[in-house]
């Protein structure tokens, strides 16, 4: 109820406030309102002439961004091993090369190796497969025959 009463009384201004009057205590530099229309007209005209330049800049920026992207992609493809060695780098030796280098350090006899692997795991190779390999893959077969 009191809220409604207050709403009705909102236009009431206490004397403490009204005694200050309603006249604006602010001033402006001399001739300001005479100059303002000219200044504003000048600014409006400059925004009209600025428009085409802004458009060319808008077209230029995407082209520049595409060119920069291509340069980054090319540079990255050349130096990716150095830039991201954990992901793309070949600095880590492969499992095969590690095994070969480790085997080369030991003087292992081939027969001992076959025995160690066990005879069950070594499959015998059929003579037909060997013949097929010699005929199909060995280009120097005629010379071999001549030499024999």
């Amino acid at each position: 109820m009191s809220y409604i009463v207050n709403m009705k009384e909102t236009d009431y201004i206490p004397e403490k406030i009204s005694s200050a009057g309603k006249k604006s205590p602010f001033t402006v530099p001399d001739g300001y309102f005479e100059r303002l229309p000219k200044d504003l007209a000048g600014m409006v005209n400059s925004t009209i002439t600025d428009h085409p330049e802004k458009k060319s800049v808008r077209i230029f920026w995407p082209l520049l961004a595409v060119a920069a992207g291509l340069i980054i992609a090319v540079v990255f493809s050349f130096y990716r091993d150095e830039l991201l060695p954990g992901i793309f780098g070949n600095n880590q030796p492969s499992v095969e090369s590690t095994c070969i280098s480790q085997l080369s350090t030991f003087n292992i006899d081939e027969e001992d190796l076959i025995i160690a692997l066990g005879t069950d795991s070594v499959q015998p190779i059929e003579s037909e497969i060997i013949a097929e390999y010699i005929v199909l893959d060995n280009n120097d077969l005629e010379n071999m025959i001549v030499e024999l």
Binding site: M7, K16, P25, T27, L40, A41, V44
Partner: protein, 182 residues
């Protein structure tokens, strides 16, 4: 100088040959009212001048699409209000980077230093009290008390309900009265 109605000015503006002339007429008709509306919010003349320029440049760019539901003056007032509030927000944000600034006292200090303030002690105290208000209450008080606008007009400009405007004005008056008593 300008006896054209808003709709006549708007019709002139839509004619490509008379567009610039129509805009000059709009500036001449409304520049002072727009200036004083902004000045009462920002206090400083240079800040006000910048915001007035932004307001009219935005009006120039937007007048083409203006449908004329509200009058040109109401529309300009709305742009000026939004530009002023944006300016105040940006200023507050900038000052938050400086830890030694005291935002609460900044506006009254601006009033003391303003070479374009010509009021007596009572007017200065009233302005200091108004500057202590939150931006929306300050806006509503200025529009109601100094500009003598109706709540319906203020509501159209600010896009706020009349009930909310009445409450804001009521709170503003109470706070100002309390400040003047101290």
């Amino acid at each position: 100088m300008t006896d054209y109605t808003d709709s006549e000015l708007f019709d002139l503006f839509r004619d490509p040959d008379k567009k610039s002339h129509a805009f000059d007429l709009i500036i001449n008709k409304y520049q002072e009212r727009i200036y004083w509306h902004i000045r009462k919010l920002l206090i400083n003349h240079d800040d006000t001048n910048d915001v007035v320029q932004n307001t009219f440049i935005k009006a120039w760019k937007g007048l083409e699409d203006f449908r004329g539901q509200a009058g040109i003056f109401t529309w300009l007032y709305r742009i000026a209000t939004n530009e002023s509030l944006t300016f105040l927000r940006q200023k507050n944000r900038t000052q938050s980077f400086f830890p030694f600034s005291d935002k609460g006292n900044e506006f009254p200090d601006l009033l003391e230093a303003d070479p374009y303030f010509d009021g007596n002690e009572l007017q200065k105290k009233l302005q200091k009290a108004i500057l202590k208000l939150p931006p929306k209450q300050r806006l509503v008080f200025n529009m109601k008390y100094f500009d003598e606008m109706k709540y319906e007009e203020i509501s159209e400009i600010l896009g706020t309900s009349i009930g909310s405007l009445k409450a804001s004005f009521h709170h503003a008056v109470n706070k100002i009265e309390k400040y003047l008593e101290d």
